[in-house]
């Protein structure tokens, strides 16, 4: 019945992606920008810092990172292939022209329209796409919108301020909360952590900053929406979230970019710090432009995300739904330092056409009775390569620690690849590590059952894939879960129908 498999491949493999039907976020916004010419040296780093009127300590911090970066070789270990990146051919700063808007009313209407079109309305009454107004109880979401190198708007700032929550752009935080930034920036992901983190530390332009004070439950979901617009520009945002003792925050991140024939680099760093009894839930729906059906263009998404459970009983939970980018290379990780702290990683990564994903997590158990859970669902179609790479490490102090890992791969068609590279390391007898991985395909029998009941094959595949991802979608906030399921369906849409 291999004929059948081919039919399946036709369904999801050969895309009309080239015509862009399935990448609705692929448009370009025409707007005047203030863009640095391509190239990178110490002067460029200084220029970025100067544009943001940063204090001297910040400039020095960046220069130190830049010098370290220059010493580092480009990493090669991931299961991905791409031509060498010309770091001198990239522009490291691009921002809409004019002074930074002080309130939403001052934001360029063209930008507001861009976010509207993306389903991220920036006026404060609105909600995230996918949530109908009929539900009055729907939670409100505060949005920080990052356009190329800068944050263009942050909503609901006043309401959040009443609760004592700081939610602003990174640039603003450096000016307004230097003590917090100096204390925590680079404390989770040190400057020389890896090649792309070092680069980010030198040239990061903006990003979001969150501080939730002691014993405070953040009154709404926080979200950042990243948009790459300018051509030939890298996006290097930096996000820092600190949940003080007993605090709770749920943070959502979304991303898109226009369709362009060239590859664009996105090298972000995200740092999370959870103090005693604090909890941070970080959800990502990543839909950067994946490139066309022939593998031209798309974003290189090389991101370092790491959280540290500093305090006892703290918890950090990462959920990601990755459907975009030509290449994804990221491992949202947790350092479990506090006793009884908890780390979680839930991931869905879908690749098709010529996409490549090498993603997973690192759970480092340092404190006693720390617990981690990893659930990874990889779906490969077309000629894509999809790898899970993870490391679970039980350090000598992690008495009674536990990890459970489940990695499942689903293959659609016979020209793609699905890979699993887990590193499991234990140095003490009282820790327990369990890892399981399976590989399956959408079976002909499942498809036939659906068809026999009247469901067309394209819908059936989407439904089966959704079912396969259920354990992960369950962990997303409601409105994001709906969006994620839709995104998956759109991504699986093929030539039929």
């Amino acid at each position: 019945m291999s004929e059948r498999s081919n039919e399946l491949t036709d369904l999801v493999g050969e895309e009309h992606a080239a015509t862009g039907h399935d990448y609705a976020a692929g448009f370009v916004t025409e707007i005047d920008t203030d863009t640095l010419p391509p190239g990178l040296d110490e002067d460029v780093v200084r220029a970025i810092s100067a544009k943001k009127a940063e204090p001297a300590w910040m400039t020095e911090w960046r220069l130190d990172a830049f010098r370290r970066w220059q010493e580092m070789p480009t990493p090669r270990w991931a299961h991905v292939q791409f031509p060498d990146i010309d770091f001198q051919g990239i522009s490291y700063f691009s921002a809409p022209k004019g002074d930074a808007p002080k309130s939403l009313d001052e934001v360029d209407p063209e930008l507001l329209r861009t976010y509207e079109k993306l389903g991220i309305p920036l006026h404060e009454r609105a909600r995230l796409a996918g949530v109908e107004a009929e539900d009055e109880e729907a939670p409100q979401v505060a949005v920080d919108a990052v356009f190329d190198s800068v944050s263009v708007a942050t909503t609901f700032k006043e309401r959040l301020a009443e609760a004592g929550v700081v939610f602003c752009s990174m640039s603003e935080a450096i000016q307004e909360h230097p003590e917090l930034v100096r204390k925590y920036l680079g404390s989770v992901v040190p400057k020389p952590d890896n090649f792309y983190a070092a680069l980010n530390s030198a040239v990061f332009s903006d990003g979001s900053f969150v501080y939730v004070p002691k014993n405070t439950r953040c009154p709404m979901e926080l979200s950042t929406y990243f948009r790459i617009n300018a051509e030939n520009t890298g996006q290097f945002e930096r996000t820092l979230i600190i949940a003080d003792e007993g605090a709770y925050v749920s943070y959502l991140e979304g991303c898109t970019a226009p369709m362009r024939d060239d590859n664009q680099l996105h090298a972000a760093v995200v740092e999370l710090v959870a103090l005693e009894d604090a909890e941070i839930k970080y959800s990502t729906v990543q839909n950067w432009y994946p490139g066309d059906a022939e593998g031209n263009g798309g974003i290189y998404n090389f991101v370092t995300k790491r959280g540290t459970c500093l305090g006892d009983r703290s918890k950090i939970s990462w959920t990601q739904v990755e459907t975009g980018s030509a290449i994804t290379w990221k491992y949202p990780s947790v350092m479990l330092r506090g006793a009884d702290s908890v780390g979680e990683f839930y991931s869905v990564a879908l690749t098709r056409n010529f996409q490549q994903a090498d993603t997973g997590t690192k759970m480092t158990h340092i404190g006693p009775r720390t617990k981690s859970t990893i659930v990874s669902k990889g779906i490969s179609a077309g000629r894509s390569q999809n790898s899970y790479r993870g490391r679970v490490r039980m350090n000598p102090g992690a008495k009674g620690a536990r990890n459970y890992t489940q990695c499942d791969s689903l293959l659609i068609g016979d020209t793609c690849g699905a890979h699993t590279f887990p590193y499991i390391e234990s140095k003490l007898s009282t820790a327990v590590v369990e890892h399981e991985a399976t590989t399956s395909k959408v079976s002909d029998e499942q498809l036939f059952l659906c068809q026999q009941r009247g469901i067309d094959p394209e819908k059936a595949v989407a439904m089966i894939v959704n079912g396969f991802c259920r354990d992960v979608f369950r962990t997303l906030p409601m409105e994001f879960a709906v969006e994620a399921a839709k995104l998956l369906e759109v991504s699986l849409e093929g030539a039929v129908g």
Binding site: P422, I424, H435
Partner: protein
Amino acid sequence: MAGLALNGASLAEKLLARGPTSYAPWLDRRPHLDLIEQRALPELRAEAWRHTNIARWYETVLAGTERATRSRRVEFPGEVEVVDFADPRAAELLVLRGEEIFRLDAQPIAALNGMLLGSGVAIRVPAGTVPSPVRIVDLPAAYQRILVIVEPDARVELIEEPSSYTHRLVEAVVQPGGRLLHRRLQAASPDRECSLVAVRVQANAHYELSQLSLGGDLRRNDIVATLAGNAANVTLRGAWRLVESQHLDNQVAVHHDAPGGTSRQTFRGVADGRSRAVLNGRIEIAPGAQQSDATLNTKNLLASDTAEVYAKPELEIYANDVKCSHGATIGAIDEDAVHYFRTRGIDAPTARSLFVRGFLREAIDDVETARRLGVIQ
């Protein structure tokens, strides 16, 4: 840690000055020398050597302090053809083997075996025969090579029980319909030793490995099994028990290159004292190897807080109509189970050793031998 700066490049330099051995002069050593000349020996931090300090093995190679027995003990029945590797007939058998079974650039330290080879045997099991077991106990050199050709529909058991080597290469081809049961008995050893087992399994042929290991000062086993023909079958079993500061590193790769193959891997290990156990188990399904069915299961017991276990089960899959899975666990002796034994009147040490034995037995098919070797008590 003096002397550990020795790396692949500096070793190569010194060895090339020394030159190859004169044993089995018919053997084409060019590929081995080329690799060494190109400085392609593993460096200290190479991914495949993350948990085994190869510099310690290089030291042994360089110092010329390899320990080797003088004696040669190989037992085999009359139907089986066994010749010394130095014999020109071995060259003919190498031709019968067919194409290379493993890629030298993927197993670079085997180049040292080629260069420094001092003893070896070539074995042919004629088509359709079912002889009694072939036992290879000792070969009189530090660098050893064993070639096994199991001809169509032949069936044989090969037992390796060496007392000492620095590098041993075992190559086997199991031709269509043939069967090779390969027992490797690795006693505790004060030496630093590396071995490579490379097997090609042709259509409808079976290869079964049963490896029982105690630790060594440095013991490294690379195992590469390729299912090259339709409906080939590979079963790998490994059990180990490490104490004190023993070290065991098993690097296993199973390549499904043809459709309809089945592979089963089961590993069970116990690490006590300050020992270190490593298992890297890789399953690779090539494009077109549809209907492959592959599983790997490894379970580890950490019996002390100073021992270390590293497990890395990997899947690399390029075909969709396949069934693949792996599972890996690391944990302690189940004290609930020990308690249960004790309520039945069994003292704690006995209970623990019963538990360990039961645990290891899942990867042991010959309890008597395992007991004789001391893998179980």
